[in-house]
Amino acid sequence: MKYLDEYRDGNLAQQLAREIHRVTTKPWTIMEVCGGQTHAIVKFGIDELLPKQITLIHGPGCPVCVTPLEVIDKALELAARPGVIFTSFGDMLRVPGSATDLLSVKARGGDVRMVYSPLDAVQLAEQNPAREVVFFGVGFETTAPATALAVFQAAQKGLGNFSMLISHVLVPPAIEALMSAPGCRVQAFLAAGHVCAVMGYEEYPPLAAKYHVPIVVTGFEPLDILQGILMTVQQLESGRAEVENQYARAVTRRGNQPAQELIRKVFQVVPRKWRGVGEIPQSGLGLTAAYAAFDAERKFGVANRPVAEPADCVAGLVLQGLKKPHECPAFAGKCTPEHPLGATMVSSEGACAAYYRYRRQAAPERAFSK
């Protein structure tokens, strides 16, 4: 497929891998921030091409995984209400709350619908004036513009029956939290290309300087990731800690300005709890006062009930890169995609799901040696 196969070329991948082997002289630990990158790494076996000194650890960049249990419980409560059409992206539907999930609520009669865009939910609200339509707005800066546009349009159309349960989160505060946590092993970051396509990468130089970590904005195809790793290792080996852009075909320094403007118009930065990590200051987006009427939590008065994560689940440590999925005693035993203990096993971008799907039975053999 055009624009895709070029970035999956086996020969070029081997060339990049050889170059990474050539420049690597010491052990390095690199975190890929985004769950999409984690899946590509495991699916294509990119880590098998790398020298043994390089450890990739999987970051918190999976929107489904970091949405707190309390928020999912609120979604379940709203979805079960008569008169509500609850709309969500597909991969939130299977995520377990403390008692059940959205697909089970649907099976018991809740009107839960999968949408491909928040604008589909706005359209549903227009078509069903007698019903309340709630959209589950989750994700990073990547999905925030679409969520913001939906709220903006609903306001313009004067839709009184549309609202959102919002749990949007931001990448730079998460990087900051990871770097300042005790026991952090991360020496460099592959920043999430799609997040930067929206936001640009002007937020990153202060982080790179403060923690002396290289940050390379990286895409999602095998060649992107290998090149991102190469650029990162070159910086590490030469003692540099700069922000570089591997994904220049999609990302500019300042990002998508109209999208950012829309986000600023509708959202304000708020503290946000991350599942498995805890509360991170100024790490999320919430509706501004002007759009507060579209806040489903406020509109329906859903209560905030703190809940505990299953004791066996180490998803929090996985999201912080402190443990690998297969180091969890519940992995592939008590915890499977059919019976997940934590969100990292459910989402298509979750690290545990990636390991379960692609690596369950055998430790990978190295396909390339120096």
């Binding site: 076996g45 597909g90 999905t143 995609p337 039975q361």
Partner: protein, 350 residues
């Protein structure tokens, strides 16, 4: 089939009733009219025309194969097919997967009250055409009408009987190390065609379902004396599920190569966009064949002579293993597990 006066348009008496009523399933005059003017003429053959409560027929010598499947696809008509032709192809293909020659089908109609009679007629006409093309006869059937809101317009069930006229033990347990793995064509079209119409997704081109009978290419393989070990149609769960089931039954390792698996460009693009794997997506006219390694080249050549399997390709092989395992070699040369999909395919967030 002997149906001299078959009309391509909905029969006149039915036009008095533009929609199916509860009475059409009630056993009285209206139901009789439906059977006599719609199902009877469309599917006419001596066994059905005898109008017994059960069909009576003699059985040719050999083992029999029997299968049943229900069809609940929404929408009823989609690019490349409809529920009627799919209900014939699906059951004929299930029979073909044991190398059987399909003989007779039954068909159960569960109709939602209010279904346009014209729609029913279009489905029945499509079934008639598909059955003729596959060389099977519909010899018995059943009609029920359910209250409005209790069904998606129309559900179908078809059961098929076929005769096995070869001596090969075609079964997952016959698969052994050294066998070649062949797919009969490009993958993922049916599932993506349905998803595109159901969810109103617009891609640059229309993806058409691959719904079709694969009986002829299978017959050609058997006729040519290919050492066929196992055949499996690639419906729900796609290639990934089929390979995992077979690896588990045979206790072998199946290793395939991503680059060798044919996937049409538009299907590939749609899957990439939605975060789906074409190897997990359903097909309705594709199968995987395990054949003895040395026969692989000849088998592919035979398959390619048939339009429905013109894209057939060897995608991998079978090796001995301590436990069942399916692996896939990625385009950059690394191998990973190819797992069964977990539940329904859900598009990802971003």
């Amino acid at each position: 089939m002997t149906t001299p006066e078959f009309n391509a348009i909905c029969p006149v008496p039915m036009q008095q009733y533009p929609h199916v009523l509860m009475a059409h399933g009630g056993g009285g005059r209206l139901m009789h009219q439906l059977l006599e003017t719609v199902f009877g003429p469309a599917f006419s053959n001596p066994i059905l025309d005898a109008r017994h409560d059960s069909a009576q027929f003699s059985v040719p010598p050999g083992k029999l194969a029997m299968t049943t499947d229900s069809y609940v696809v929404r929408p009823l008509f989609f690019p490349g097919g409809d529920i009627g032709s799919m209900a014939i192809h699906g059951t004929v293909n299930d029979l073909a997967m044991s190398g059987a020659r399909p003989l007779y089908l039954s068909c159960g109609f569960i109709i939602e009250e209010g279904l346009p009679m014209e729609t029913l007629w279009r489905v029945v006409s499509s079934m008639r055409a598909a059955a003729q093309q596959c060389g099977v006869q519909i010899v018995t059937g059943d009609t029920k009408v359910v209250d409005q809101g209790k069904g998606d317009g129309l559900y179908l069930n078809t059961t098929g009987i076929g005769v096995i006229e070869h001596e090969l033990p075609i079964a997952p347990t016959s698969v052994m190390p050294g066998d070649a793995v062949i797919v009969s064509g490009d993958l993922g079209r049916h599932g993506m065609a349905i998803m595109a119409v159901r969810e109103g997704l617009q891609f640059e081109s229309t993806i058409e379902s691959d719904s079709a009978s694969v009986r002829n290419p299978v017959r050609a393989l058997l006729k040519a004396g290919i050492a066929v070990r196992c055949l499996r149609d690639l419906t729900r769960g796609g290639l990934a599920s089929a390979l995992n089931e077979i690896a588990a039954a045979a206790g072998v390792k199946i290793a395939i190569e991503q680059k060798a698996v044919p996937v049409r460009e538009d299907v590939h693009a749609a899957c990439e966009m939605l975060g789906l794997d074409p190897l997990h997506v359903a097909n309705e006219g594709r199968f995987v064949a395990f054949v003895a390694g040395p026969d692989a080249g000849r088998a592919v050549e035979i398959l390619r002579h048939h339009e429905v399997s013109a894209q057939a390709a060897v995608i991998g092989n079978v090796a001995a293993s301590t436990g069942p395992l399916v692996t896939i070699k990625s385009p950059i040369g690394a191998s990973r597990i190819l797992d069964m999909p977990s539940g329904e395919q859900l598009p990802r967030i971003c």
